[in-house]
């Protein structure tokens, strides 16, 4: 387990960042770089009017849907590829192709082929993330302990029991790693998807603010989103990790 960070140290670092921002805004003295206070006021207004929470929730729903889709497909394919060398060799070139396919291309193609609809948006984001999950989980599936596998075979654990009690616990660190990197990647791509083809969500709002050069609102939305992703890390991923690691010495 990591040593606990000193909260005062973290606070000092954040205050320093705010200070730098304040100074820079003072020197620039421009509408396109507002001082921190102005951003917080705009953030407050957005929260009070209910507009910001609405768009946040819409975006988060898309993040959640894409996340679940990408993780479940990625885990299944990753385990299969890690366990079956023939399948691994067969699918490897597909994987390379999808890994290097630019996110923007996937998004445009999904919109062109399926229309500007919700499912096309979620699918486009998932397709961007799946190859990363596959690569990470495949690595884990390749390093599964053969001894435990034989044990499971001798004691005749059935398929689901083997998956749940023998395979998945060994994959836990890999799953957690791809969940973490997945969250960070997915919410960034969701914003692009919204910017290009949805009429709500944080990405859509940002495109409006861009047209109006409303930098204060852009920063306010960004701050709100960063706060939420950090909250997920603190209140979901870290406790989950602690729970998964409780058996370690």
């Amino acid at each position: 387990m990591r040593p606990r960070a000193n909260p005062w140290w973290q606070l000092a670092s954040i205050l320093l960042l705010l200070g730098l921002w304040q100074v820079a805004a003072g020197i620039a003295d421009s509408r396109v770089l507002p001082v921190p206070m102005e951003v917080f006021v705009v953030l407050g207004e957005g929260l009070a009017s209910g507009e910001l929470p609405y768009h946040l929730v819409v975006t988060l729903a898309r993040v959640a849907a894409s996340f679940v889709l990408a993780m479940s497909i990625g885990i299944a394919v990753g385990i299969a590829m890690g366990r079956l060398p023939a399948l691994d060799r067969f699918l490897d070139s597909w994987l390379v192709l999808f890994l290097n396919l630019p996110a923007l291309v996937t998004i445009i193609l999904c919109y062109v082929w399926f229309g500007l609809i919700e499912s096309a948006a979620v699918l486009a984001v998932a397709i961007n993330k799946i190859p990363n999950v596959v690569v990470t989980v495949r690595e884990g599936a390749r390093s599964l302990d053969k001894d435990l596998d034989e044990m499971a075979q001798v004691y005749r654990l059935n398929g689901p029991a083997r998956l749940r009690h023998v395979v998945l616990p060994q994959l836990a660190p890999y799953l957690l790693a791809s969940a973490r990197s997945g969250l960070a990647l997915i919410w960034k791509i969701v914003l692009v998807v919204e910017l290009l083809g949805r009429s709500d969500g944080v990405g859509f709002q940002l495109s409006l603010f861009f047209q109006m050069f409303d930098v204060a609102n852009i920063l306010a939305y960004a701050l709100a989103f960063i706060a939420i992703v950090q909250a997920i890390e603190w209140f979901a991923l870290r406790p989950l990790e602690r729970n998964l690691n409780r058996w370690r010495r």
């Binding site: 001894d147 435990l148 034989e150 044990m151 075979q153 001798v154 004691y155 005749r156 654990l157 059935n158 029991a161 009690h165 023998v166 616990p169 998964l244 409780r246 058996w247 370690r248 010495r249």
Partner: protein
């Protein structure tokens, strides 16, 4: 109830990378009656573990035939296997490790009884990595018995323990086996251990392994606890092995 019948014509491992092909077992035939405790000894690398893996069904690539003992009423023979390393699931507690295998449809509600028998009641909620090696082996022993096996395979389960702990575990094994009798194949390279435990000793030759010696051990439990008696028997066994050459 039927006997264990082993009749292996040949078992070889194909060449892999630069390692040459290897003949592990050849013309190995024996049978073990129900409830017998047989120790298999032989030099390192003579194919003892290979034989166990064949019996366990982990390796099916061999010529010959193996008929596992079967208790009437069961659709398929149940095997318990205590591996050389304990092979416990580190993310499950001692009790959960036993439950996982016992909870199979075969059903065997004896987790508590085995925890009791093996002196693990106080450690039932401990995770394996927090236990000593001796304790972990105890858990592996309990797990092998908890499935009420028709055939119990043991692959040097007490190796690399200090002698007092190993002695304690051997006595424990005999105790549990008497409480829950079954056919046992116990592999060891240590002839003393074989004499202390087995009702019969099968000695294998060097690779490819075949049977060099098949002798009964008729000792009382007090005699088995006496190092002098063990040593005497060991020398006699070595002599008869020499005489055969």
């Amino acid at each position: 109830m039927s006997d264990l019948v082993v009749n292996i014509g040949a078992k070889s491992f194909p060449a892999v990378d630069r390692a040459p092909a290897q003949q592990a077992l050849q013309d190995l035939a024996f049978s073990v009656s129900h409830g017998e405790f047989v120790c298999i000894t032989g030099p390192s690398g003579c194919g003892k573990t290979t034989l166990l893996n064949l019996l366990a069904g982990l390796d099916t690539d061999y010529q010959g035939e193996i008929r596992l003992p079967r208790v009437t009423g069961r659709t398929a023979p149940v095997v318990g296997y205590a591996f050389q390393a304990p092979r416990l699931l580190p993310w499950r507690t001692v009790q959960e490790n036993l439950q996982l295998v016992a909870d199979n449809p075969r059903g065997s509600d004896s987790v508590d009884e085995l925890l009791q028998l093996t002196g693990l009641q106080d450690f039932r909620h401990a995770y394996p990595q927090r236990l000593s090696t001796g304790m972990q082996r105890r858990v592996a022993l309990a797990r092998a018995f908890v499935v009420s096996p028709d055939l119990l395979l043991m692959d040097e389960p007490f190796v690399s323990l200090d002698e007092p702990t190993a002695v304690r575990l051997r006595l424990l094994l005999l105790e549990v086996w008497q409480a829950r009798p079954t056919t046992v194949i116990f592999v060891t390279h240590d002839l003393r251990e074989a004499i202390q435990l087995g009702g019969r000793i099968l000695q294998l030759t060097d690779t490819p392994g075949r049977i060099a010696l098949d002798v009964p051990v008729n000792l009382s439990s007090t005699e088995r606890a006496d190092p002098a008696v063990i040593e005497h028997h060991r020398l006699r066994l070595l002599e008869s092995a020499q005489a055969r050459h």
